[in-house]
């Protein structure tokens, strides 16, 4: 994601009580348009134009599914609960069933990790907020079903990801890349995931010995 020039709280906060000053309150349509404008790429503007012309931008702002909501007591530094849920939904589809089970069982929390990671990088934090809002609200016009990303079933979400990564629009690929970078970081850097993948932890003497054993080679 490119470095935007707006404040840390970015967008995605409209429906939340902790609304940042200056974030427009005219509804998700304006919110998405604002996000697209800030991302400021010709491709995105085209996407916004298409979505708006087709009358596809949402008029309501319901809550994301409860399963994706931040756990009670979690204090998010920069992400709104909706952005949190969107990131979690993206991460779940990205990493496949086994790691996803760790997310759904709350053994790991990639969205909380993403929130903490970007909290110290204001430019990235606002870009992430914008990107997640676009994923949640604006890429779905490309699907037959009119629903935010978090409300789609797994197959439809996969189609969104597939569309993003194959898109001819640079901005959609950038969105996929940016989210993939953050999702892989926040999932695969977790010790629980590491051990599931057969990594014995950073200080395993046997693992190191095995890695350094070569003998006659392959």
């Amino acid at each position: 994601m490119s470095r935007p020039s707006i404040g840390v709280n970015g967008i995605g906060h409209r429906c939340e009580p902790r609304e940042a000053p200056g974030v427009n309150a005219a509804g998700p349509t304006r919110e998405v348009e604002a996000a697209l404008a800030r991302l400021d790429r010709r491709g995105f503007l085209r996407l916004a134009g298409t979505a708006t012309a087709a009358g596809l931008l949402p008029a309501g702002c319901g809550a994301a599914p409860a399963a994706l909501a931040p756990p009670p007591g979690l204090r998010l530094a920069v992400l709104s609960p909706r952005a949190y849920a969107t990131f979690q939904a993206f991460a779940l589809r990205l990493v496949g069933p086994a790691c996803s089970a760790l997310v759904t069982s709350r053994a790991i929390d990639p969205a909380a990790a993403a929130d903490a990671w970007v909290a110290r990088l204001p430019g990235l934090a606002s870009a992430l907020g914008q990107g997640l809002a676009v994923l949640e609200w604006a890429v779905w016009p490309l699907l037959p079903k009119l629903a935010p990303f978090t409300a789609l079933d797994a197959r439809a979400q996969d189609r969104v990801l597939e569309d993003l990564l194959r898109s001819r629009m640079a901005i959609k690929r950038d969105l996929y890349r940016g989210l993939k970078s953050l999702a892989t970081l926040t999932v695969y850097a977790q010790p629980a995931v590491r051990s599931r993948l057969g990594h014995p932890g950073p200080f395993s003497a046997e693992g190191i010995a095995a890695a350094m054993r070569w003998g006659d080679g392959p």
């Binding site: 994601m1 490119s2 470095r3 935007p4 020039s5 589809r93 990205l94 990493v95 496949g96 069933p97 086994a98 790691c99 990790a113 903490a116 990671w117 110290r120 990088l121 430019g123 990235l124 996969d158 990801l161 990564l165 194959r166 640079a170 690929r173 950038d174 996929y176 890349r177 940016g178 993939k180 970078s181 892989t184 970081l185 926040t186 999932v187 695969y188 850097a189 977790q190 010790p191 995931v193 590491r194 993948l197 057969g198 990594h199 950073p202 200080f203 395993s204 693992g207 190191i208 095995a210 890695a211 350094m212 054993r213 070569w214 080679g217 392959p218």
Partner: protein
């Protein structure tokens, strides 16, 4: 109430490869030095090998507009040297010759740099990598290269007593890696330099065409939030905040800069072997295929192939596909080997200021660069198949794994775009405030002095006029020592 002030003979901004050696050299020459660092100061005992925590503490990342390339740098005392892979290469003579011919840096020769390179080599303990530090991951690259008859060698590294933890990018918990944190910074302190962490330079104070010091924002160590202003007054100001900041600092100070940015673009190829590789252990990087390099006497298309750790997050990021496909590939993590392409780009980018005053980087590899990346990843796939890999993943976002030469040959040739690649990134960043002989086309003169502002120098990678074709930390450190010497003698002469 006026802001707090510090007075010194010299203030150095940034404590990485370009700043810490300069600070040490100036302090050892008897100057009172303040070394400013925006990041925190962590010590070896703080490095616990936990990726999420360490990466958050030690690194920063940004993205280049125009290509979506990810750029990484260190963000702590010691700068990128704390998170780098410890590889050491002397400045290539061909590169210096090119800088002389194309940028008018007539005094930048092997012999003028030699004493500085020698000093760097000794200070950071650079030495050849022996068999005890060549992991299976490195040896598989070597084995494939041998089978194909390609030249390669273990690289020199700046370590003392490396125990193969595989955590070079997370600060090195064993203290083996001789980063600036363990070498130049303590050296500077022993000579009396004062190191201020959590001190972000905002702009250079310039009066009547002379640098007078630096305006600083102190950051709260716990929250990272602004904690108040500080002014460091000094007649000599040396900027070494890295490419992600030095050009922006100059721009914020009203000095034209930011053109001519150049990178080494990187992508990686991952391969699965039947036997475990445990590629997350051992030095993160150690062996290079030099066959296709265009420096150090080689005349290839201009890329090196260097084995690289299979740390889980970055490996997953570099693999194509998602969901079950990604899970299948990552499920074989202990069996994976990985190599990175280090391309000597021909592209040039620029740094400008965003509205909030932060740096905005625009950079896109040229079609020629992308063609060479395509060439490099194809060759790497061949190499891994020759080494016995069962599957090879190219860094192409929508691609399937390759299992044979026939499958590789069947891949339709096509022009690559930067966004076809999974993880296109750079950690070797150059230029943006380059030295040069022509005042119209260079921010600094050959001594690293910023034109038009007396007492202001640039000693980090931004002062280099282009990429080096090899891992650059030694070149940057040697150049920083040279510039510190020139700055000290230049300012003394001016004062006299």
């Amino acid at each position: 109430m006026s802001e707090p002030r510090l007075r010194a003979d010299a203030v150095v901004v940034g404590s990485g490869a370009g700043g810490a050696p300069a600070a040490a050299a100036l302090a050892e020459a008897g100057l009172e030095v303040v070394l400013l660092e925006a990041g925190a100061r962590w010590e070896t005992r703080d490095f616990d090998g936990e990726e999420a925590r360490m990466l958050a503490r030690l690194m920063k990342a940004t993205t280049a507009s125009g290509s979506g390339m990810e750029l990484y740098a260190g963000a702590c005392v010691g700068g990128s040297t704390v998170v780098n892979d410890a590889l050491c290469w002397a400045p290539p003579p061909e590169v210096l010759a090119r800088w002389r011919a194309e940028h008018g840096l007539v005094g930048l020769t092997e012999s003028t740099l030699a004493p500085h390179v020698e000093r760097v080599w000794a200070e950071i303990g650079a030495a050849p990598t022996g068999p005890a530090n060549l992991s299976r991951n490195a040896r598989l690259l070597e084995a494939g290269a041998r089978r194909l008859g390609w030249a390669g060698a273990a690289m020199a590294r700046n370590v003392r007593g490396c125990v193969n933890l595989g955590l070079c990018n997370l600060g090195c918990p064993s203290g083996a890696k001789q980063s600036a944190l363990l070498t130049w910074v303590p050296r500077a302190e022993r000579a009396g330099a004062r190191v201020l962490a959590h001190a972000r330079a905002l702009r250079v104070a310039i009066e009547a065409g002379r640098a007078r010091g630096v305006e600083v924002l102190r950051l709260d160590p716990a929250s990272g939030e602004p904690a108040g202003p500080l002014r460091v007054e000094a007649p000599l100001v040396v900027l070494a905040a890295g490419i992600l900041e030095t050009p922006a600092l100059l721009l914020r100070s009203g000095i034209a800069a930011g053109e001519g940015l150049q990178l080494h673009s990187s992508v990686s190829v991952t391969a699965r072997f039947a036997e475990p590789v445990y590629g997350f252990f051992g030095p993160t990087m150690a062996y290079a295929v030099t066959e296709f390099s265009d420096v150090h006497g080689r005349h290839g298309p201009g890329f090196m192939l260097e084995n690289v750790s299979v740390a889980a997050p970055v490996t997953a990021n570099a693999l194509p596909r998602f969901g079950a496909d990604l899970e299948r590939a990552m499920g074989a993590l202990p069996h994976l080997a990985r190599t990175v392409v280090v391309l000597r780009d021909e592209a040039r980018g620029r740094v400008t200021l965003a509205r909030d005053g932060s740096a905005r980087i625009a950079y896109a590899p040229t079609p020629g660069d992308l063609g060479r990346i395509g060439d490099a990843i194809g060759r790497l796939a061949r190499l891994y198949l020759a080494a016995g890999a069962e599957e090879v993943w190219l860094p192409l976002e929508a691609s399937a794994p390759i299992r044979s030469e026939a499958e590789l040959a069947a891949l339709a040739p096509r022009a690559l775009g930067p966004r076809d690649l999974t993880l296109l990134y750079a950690v070797h960043l150059f230029g943006g405030a380059a030295m040069g002989g022509d005042p119209a086309h260079s921010v600094c003169d050959e001594a690293g002095a910023v034109r038009g502002v007396a007492g202001l120098y640039v000693s980090d990678a931004s002062s280099l006029p282009g990429n080096t074709g090899v891992n650059p930390q030694v070149t940057i450190m040697a150049n920083a020592l040279r510039i510190a010497e020139r700055a000290r003698t230049g300012e003394r002469a001016r004062a006299a």
